[in-house]
Amino acid sequence: MLLAGEPMSPDATRTKRLVGLVPQDLAIYPDLGATENLEFFGRLQGLKGPVLRQRVAEVLDMIQLTDRAYDRIETYSGGMKRRLNIGIGLLHRPALLILDEPTVGVDPQSRNAILESVELLGQEGMAVLYTTHYMEEAERLCDRIGIVDHGELMAEGSQRELVQIVGQRDRLTLTATGALAATVAELETMPEVDDAAVTGDGITLTVDGAHDHLPEILSIAGKTGSVVKSVDIDSANLESVFLKLTGRALRE
């Protein structure tokens, strides 16, 4: 494995400097304070003196623990511990930040703060490898997504690419009145449309890229004498992709 062109191994100390690790388990010392934890891991990363003190202060500010900096970790809430756990990984400004399920067991406010921080880090140019079971987090944060099942990479790409890989399509529901049958007949001539049908209060159809083709579909409806009152798009999402790729059997 290469990282920034450097080989990665347990003893590759130079390459390890490029990585910031945030393990899923809280990798902090509860009998020490936040400052002591940050200073200890900062020293192991080669930081010292004023640079170390400055980075500790910056990280404490970033994870909003400045006012509790000297309290022992055992007195912190779960969310505060999670934030410190992430802060330690950021201390030495790594080129690659590895976050392993950082929002597990975290209250909504802390979770949102963590996600905002990760978004910010990404915008600043840091590569973030983010492991999660929450699909909405991956959808919100990630440019590229890999789906791993039983240690095997099942698929990898952008969200759109993943949806296309598995052939998942959007479900479109038009609440409409008028010449519904004529509209359905015309829509079925579109290559992106399948399963168009008249329902009790409108039309349903399956579309490849509903958002892209919505103007054309509405135009056809108008031309064929249907009056559309509302549109509902049920887009293919990562969850459906994940379930399609990994099956619905319960995991251990």
Binding site: D11, T13, R17, L21, P23, A27, Y29, L32, E36, L44
Partner: protein, 398 residues
């Protein structure tokens, strides 16, 4: 080395915030040493005192020699001369102290009765007898009186044999009284001083102070190895291993902190027992070398146990059991060196045994006498430690 020192400092900080470290490293061994010290101090300060009555009906030179040169020259003995056997018996019957000597009280722990003609019988070849009456309520002091009389009787027999031999060889009669008195007053030409290593002993107070210190040392340094396994359990090992430091720095850091704790613990115990119960550990340089070697030995053994263990619990249990077994074999609870035979030899399979032996040797000699114990303990530590460290390093994982 910087990373190892950083890890060691962090571990020391954590240990200093952990009350159990003080209990295991200082409070428990010091408490036990002080208890043993206070219990044993009165015994170590014990001075023999006895009051003996003498009814010298003989009034001859041989009985006078016993009273003046034997009884009165024995430290702690007070002699009360009485005129009759009845008076001597009355003094013995008056003794009421069942535990010790009569001291300044009235009465006598025992009485010596020299019958009329005792000296004349000794100078001739007739049998002579001195009667000893001991008090039942002061059996120890009565036993001492019997031993004194028996010793004197043996010397008289020796003199009698010597004089008879001289007379036979020279064919001349010897002035038996003058010769006998001269021989009896002459100090023994040679005394046996037994200084074999097996019989050198620490005083009881120092013995228990040192015994408890080395016994608990193993529990103190155990924390270094269990901290390594604990880092794996709590997840911090993943972060340590992901840091840009050599893996060996993690191991060295743990060992450094355990080594420092061991040295501090032993030093505190040595100073505290010296000040509190007058323990006499010996010359500081020799003691320092022994402590250093003992800490290395303890560290090596617990590293080996930690390297073989699969979990913190397993390592703790195994380390505790082995520390207790080695402590018993090594004679930290009772002085097995005086037991002789296999038990005394067996103690050398334990660093505890070498440590106690080293201190005992040091109490009777200079620093050079501890070279063997120090080398033995270093060998224990380095061999066991090398195997243990290799296994621990191999098992370093998140």
């Amino acid at each position: 080395m910087g990373a190892a020192w950083t890890i060691a400092r962090k571990d020391l900080k954590l240990r200093l915030r952990d009350r159990s470290a003080y209990i295991i490293g200082i409070v428990a061994p010091l408490g036990l040493a002080l208890v043993f010290g206070f219990v044993l101090n009165p015994i170590s300060d014990f001075t023999f005192t006895a009051r003996y009555a003498v009814a010298d009906l003989d009034r001859g030179p041989v009985s006078a020699l016993f009273v003046d040169d034997v009884l009165r020259s024995t430290k702690g003995v007070r002699v009360v001369k009485v005129a009759s056997v009845a008076e001597a018996e009355a003094l013995v019957d008056a003794t009421v102290n069942p535990l010790g000597g009569t001291g300044d009280k009235q009465g006598a722990d025992a009485a010596f009765i020299f019958p009329k003609g005792f000296s004349a019988d000794v100078q001739s070849e007739r049998p002579a007898a001195v009667q000893v009456i001991g008090s039942q309520s002061s059996q120890t002091n009565a036993g001492v009186s019997l031993a004194l009389a028996q010793g004197y009787a043996s010397e008289l027999t020796s003199v009698r044999v010597t004089v008879a031999t001289v007379e036979n060889l020279t064919g001349r009669r010897v002035d038996r009284l003058a010769t006998g008195v001269k021989v009896l007053q002459t100090p023994n030409p040679a005394t046996l001083v037994d200084e074999t290593t097996t019989t050198k002993q620490l005083d009881p107070v120092t013995f228990y102070a040192a015994g408890m210190a080395i016994f608990f040392l193993f529990f103190t340094v155990q924390s270094g190895v269990t901290a390594l396994l604990e880092e794996r359990r709590t997840g911090t090992m993943a972060r340590l291993l992901s840091s840009p430091i050599p893996r060996s720095a993690v191991l060295i850091g743990k060992m450094l902190s355990a080594f420092a704790l061991g040295i501090v613990s032993m030093t505190v115990l040595m100073v505290a027992t010296t000040l509190a119960v007058d323990a006499n550990w010996g010359p500081p340089l020799g003691v320092a070398l022994l402590i250093l070697a003992a800490v290395v030995a303890a560290l090596g053994i617990v590293a080996l146990i930690g390297g073989l263990a699969r979990s913190t619990e397993q390592a703790n249990t195994a380390s505790s059991m082995i520390a207790i077994i080695l402590g018993f074999i090594g004679g930290t609870f009772f002085d097995v060196s005086q037991a002789g035979g296999a038990l005394a030899r067996l103690r050398f399979i334990s660093p505890h045994g070498w440590f106690m032996q080293g201190l005992a040797d040091l109490s009777a000699g200079d620093v050079s006498v501890i070279i063997t114990p120090v080398l033995a303990m270093l060998a224990f530590g380095l061999i066991a430690g090398a195997i243990g460290m290799a296994r621990l390093r191999k098992g370093l994982r998140a």
